[in-house]
């Protein structure tokens, strides 16, 4: 018996080892912290499984707290444990329940006060999401259940309920039912429970890899929805992103099974829901159970005076209002703000309405149930498949609403003309027909052929171990480069892309625009952007009220002169002209060749010490290496402003750069420019005059005016992106020529690893050459490098010090090789320009 126990534990451990190998060496589906936690889980599982039963709960509790220390650090673990013990202790004070609840509310309010001001709290900011996820809902369930508790529960089990091992890596932890947590502890064969854990973790892994496939390769940004085909693709892939949550929940519940907590499923084939009630019962089951137990049943029982129908409707409405509120409450503990958005309200209202209508029908007519699977007729299978498909389409629609930042953004998905509605429509209809046919056949066969299932909660230990272990082994083998390289370039590239975490194109765009700070879509909590944002230190970007002075015209804002602040870890000084730069005289000193560089946050260069951004490094190098040859001093005036669009850069050039008597303008552009016309769309929408009539006409022609929703405006402008870009280049080059200024087109690619922009780059470069720009093209600047090594952090993809050094070196080479620049500096010297008296000395910069 003992030998059997050891063998079975080792079999489960072997599967965990394969799981660890996969997430570490093959598909890094979660963070490095998760890998550390799984290592600890594996070691803890082996010890736990051989301990006498009475030591297992205390061991699990200690292991869970050790897990917090491994991921967050010992100090944070001590804080979390202290606050947690205090909260659980209050639940058991020998006073009336109402007094205990009041005390908990008071302590909760104090913690919420600190949560809203993380910088002033003594606790590390990293603690809040974990503390919140451990206690924000579980305390409610716990208090509800201990009122009716009949059997004694060990203290270690009570505490373990809150400090659950996987929690530290998953702030979006499902609400676990306390009674269920106690009731299911070793409630069946222990090896079967362990094996279920390994199996569920494997299923979670599959969900997460599939999620990545959808996120990287199928999901398209909402502004790329232009016809029925792209709309269908967007709706489906947007809904399938939930695979990430279901994958995480599988892993969480699986990890708990490894320690004897035989928890039920967290999700149950939610893609196969055939009605709204069915959907509510299948997706995020723990949440549904929480709502039913703590809100729905108590409300229903209290409303005895009402007739059955209004009673059911009122209790259902109550549940959905509470669900909506609690989602914002959950977000508060994770991020510190309490969002209330239109799509959120409409989504929960609609879902509540449909579930209530379905519930009424089920209460009156009933629904088909069976003790064992029943075979359907072909007609019945067809009707069932049609219902599933219909639900899938409806949920995709609702989900797209929920995940939109605003109702306007959601509406912007739809307005495409008659041609757009027909384009791709046949493909969508064809796919739906194929799905219906496949669903009918599968439904018909599933009730007739026994033993078809290769997975399921009731598989015997041995069969489950074989299936799970071999599947993991297969992933290990197929995930090796030497194996998948034989699958053809497309498949190999796809598999390779799934190995590492990265952002999708749409999320990169949001990140670059700083939108991730205001994530409002209902999926915000499960999004990768949110995770990045959670890593970002408090006050990372600095206070915009200190940094900027607003303007009422097209420029919208500029850096505030003579202010000092800290942003992205380093102190920043703005000079008297509003430049993140050292001070310059307005009049160009004699014997000086003066540049102005126009650009965005990449040019401003926050996040590196003063004088170490590429502009300063380039200036130093020009003075150190060119001055001895030309006798000229070099100045580069940094006129970059974060968030400036291409038209704003043009306006800044005309208004500011020329006033400083510059000899050359470096006009910085990014690959995102033709698609990122926010400066134009914002101006048109808010009624700010666009200073260039031809551009104003293009905007008007695109159908963007005051009142056009933001998402709609940007989508309408997109097709005109290259035309607008061309106009900007021509205007900039002409203005420079008219003043004898050399215009440099400086292509500075963003550091996102999405290189789908090469076609845009080629067109932009051609437009710049046609306009008469000198070319400083850095398109290949990061060639061969992992651009992540050039980021300030995972949450901020701007250049770090190494990136600035690289860019300065490349720019210097490009300038040194530029004939027009060489000829001009030669002429300046030939014209008798005196060498600068102060030139050459390295500067400290901004």
């Amino acid at each position: 018996m003992r030998a059997k126990h050891v063998i079975r534990v080792l079999i489960v451990a072997a599967q965990l080892l394969l799981f660890l190998f996969v997430i570490e060496r093959r598909f890094q589906v979660e963070s490095p912290a998760f890998v550390r936690l799984i290592r600890l889980t594996l070691a803890g599982f082996l010890v736990h499984a051989v301990l006498p039963r009475r030591f297992r709960l205390p061991f699990f509790l200690l292991l869970s707290i050790a897990g917090i220390a491994v991921v967050l650090g010992p100090k944070e673990a001590a804080w979390l444990a202290a606050v947690g013990f205090l909260l659980v202790g209050i639940c058991h004070l020998p006073i009336r329940m109402a007094a205990r609840v009041s005390l908990l509310v008071l302590v909760g309010a104090f913690l919420a006060f600190l949560r809203a001001r993380p910088a002033s709290a003594p606790l590390s900011a990293a603690i809040w999401p974990i503390l919140g996820s451990m206690f924000m809902f579980r305390l409610v369930v716990y208090l509800y259940d201990i009122r009716h508790e009949q059997k004694p529960v060990p203290v270690a089990q009570r505490l373990s309920y809150f400090f659950l091992l996987p929690n530290v890596c998953f702030p979006l932890f499902p609400v676990v039912d306390y009674q269920g947590f106690v009731r299911t502890y070793y409630d069946s064969d222990e090896h079967r429970i362990y094996q279920k854990g390994a199996e569920w973790m494997f299923r979670g892994l599959v969900h997460l890899v599939l999620y990545r496939l959808v996120y990287y390769h199928f999901m398209i940004p909402a502004d790329e929805v232009v016809d029925a085909g792209t709309l269908g693709r967007f709706l489906v892939s947007n809904y399938l992103l939930y695979l990430r949550i279901s994958g995480q929940f599988h892993i969480i519940a699986g990890m708990l099974c490894l320690f004897g907590f035989n928890l039920p499923r967290t999700n149950n084939l939610y893609l196969l829901a055939s009605s709204f009630s069915d959907y509510w019962r299948r997706i995020n089951i723990y949440w549904k159970d929480f709502m039913v137990k703590v809100f729905y049943f108590p409300a229903f029982f209290r409303l005895r005076s009402l007739a059955a129908t209004p009673r059911l409707l009122a209790a259902t409405a109550y549940v959905f209002v509470v669900t909506w509120l609690l989602h914002s409450y959950q977000w508060f503990w994770i991020r510190g703000s309490f969002p209330v958005t239109g799509p959120d309200i409409v989504f929960w209202a609609l879902l509540g309405f449909f579930v209530a209508a379905n519930s009424l029908r089920e209460a009156k007519v009933g629904r088909a149930r069976a003790l064992a699977g029943r075979a359907r007729t072909l007609g019945g299978s067809f009707r069932h498949a049609a219902r599933i498909l219909g639900m899938f389409v409806l949920v995709c629609l609702l989900w797209s609403l929920w995940t939109s930042a605003s109702l306007g953004a959601w509406l912007s998905l739809w307005p495409f003309g008659e041609e757009g509605w027909t384009r791709g429509a046949w493909l969508v209809a064809g796919l739906l027909a194929v799905a219906l046919l496949a669903g009918t056949v599968a439904g018909y066969l599933s009730g007739r052929i026994r033993g078809l299932g290769i997975g399921g909660d009731n598989l015997a230990f041995g069969r489950s171990a074989w299936v799970t272990g071999l599947s993991l082994l297969l992933i290990v083998i197929v995930g090796h480069r030497s194996v998948y390289a034989h699958f053809g370039s497309t498949a190999a590239d796809t598999i390779y892309s799934l190995r590492k975490p990265r952002l999708s194109r749409g999320d990169i765009a949001l990140l670059q625009r700083g939108y991730y700070e205001n994530l409002l879509g209902g999926d915000r909590m499960g999004s990768q952007l949110m995770e990045l944002y959670m890593k970002q230190p408090a006050d990372w970007d600095g206070d915009p009220n200190v940094m900027y002075v607003p303007r009422n015209d097209f420029l919208a804002r500029e850096l505030k002169p003579l202010v000092e602040f800290t942003a992205k870890r380093f102190p920043v000084k703005i000079n008297r002209w509003g430049m993140q730069d050292r001070d310059y005289e307005k009049e160009k000193p004699e014997g000086t060749f003066r540049f102005a560089i126009l650009g965005t946050s990449y040019v401003v260069g926050l996040g590196v010490p003063g004088g170490e951004n590429f502009e300063s490094l380039l200036e130093n190098r020009l003075n150190a290496e060119m001055t001895p040859k030309t006798g000229l001093r070099y100045e580069i005036l940094n006129m970059g402003v974060g968030g400036y669009g291409a038209v704003q850069r043009l306006m800044a050039m005309e208004e500011k750069a020329f006033a400083f008597g510059v000899d050359a303008v470096i006009f910085t552009v990014h690959e995102t420019d033709p698609q990122g016309l926010k400066d134009l769309s914002d101006a048109a929408r808010t009624g700010v005059p666009i200073p260039y009539p031809p551009l104003a006409e293009m905007v008007s022609k695109a159908g963007v005016d005051a009142g056009t929703p933001e998402a709609v405006a940007e989508k309408r402008l997109k097709p005109a992106g290259m035309e607008i870009t061309g106009w900007i280049y021509r205007r900039a080059a002409e203005e420079c020529r008219a003043r004898g200024v050399i215009p440099f087109w400086f292509f500075l690619p963003t550091t996102s690893r999405d290189h789908a922009w090469s076609a845009d780059h080629d067109r932009m470069r051609a437009l710049a050459e046609e306009a008469g720009f000198e070319i400083l093209d850095m398109a290949d600047a990061y060639g061969g490098l992992d651009t992540r090594t050039l980021w300030l952090g995972d949450w901020d993809q701007h250049l770090n010090a190494e990136g600035h050094r690289l860019m300065a070196a490349r720019l210097f080479e490009a300038l040194a090789a530029n004939e027009r620049f060489a000829s001009r500096t030669k002429n300046e010297r030939g014209a008798g320009a005196k060498p600068a008296e102060r030139g050459g000395a390295p500067r400290n910069g901004g």
Binding site: Q179, S277, E362
Partner: protein, 83 residues
């Protein structure tokens, strides 16, 4: 277990939630809630039936796996309320 209560409840479950099912397939230990026979709506219907049939009053927390997951548990609950 009171056989009268047991058979009444079993009959009700078979008639309301498992029409067409063989009576012998439903035993007093068949899991009703965890087995997917009683969802929240069905549980409330059963509660209403039991309250009316036996003139008792159940509490919200009793509409749970701990008290109503099997026919045996439901019979026990009814008996405890009638005492």
């Amino acid at each position: 277990v009171d056989e009268g209560i047991k058979s009444t409840i079993k009959e009700y479950i078979l008639k309301e939630f498992l029409p067409g099912e063989r009576p012998e397939a439903l035993t007093e230990s068949t899991p009703l809630i965890t087995g997917g026979i009683l969802d929240s709506i069905a549980t409330l219907k059963l509660v209403a039936f039991v309250e009316e049939r036996y003139d008792i009053r159940l509490e919200a927390h009793e509409a749970s796996v701990e008290h109503m997951n099997t026919i045996a548990q439901i019979v026990g609950l009814v008996e405890s309320k009638k005492r």
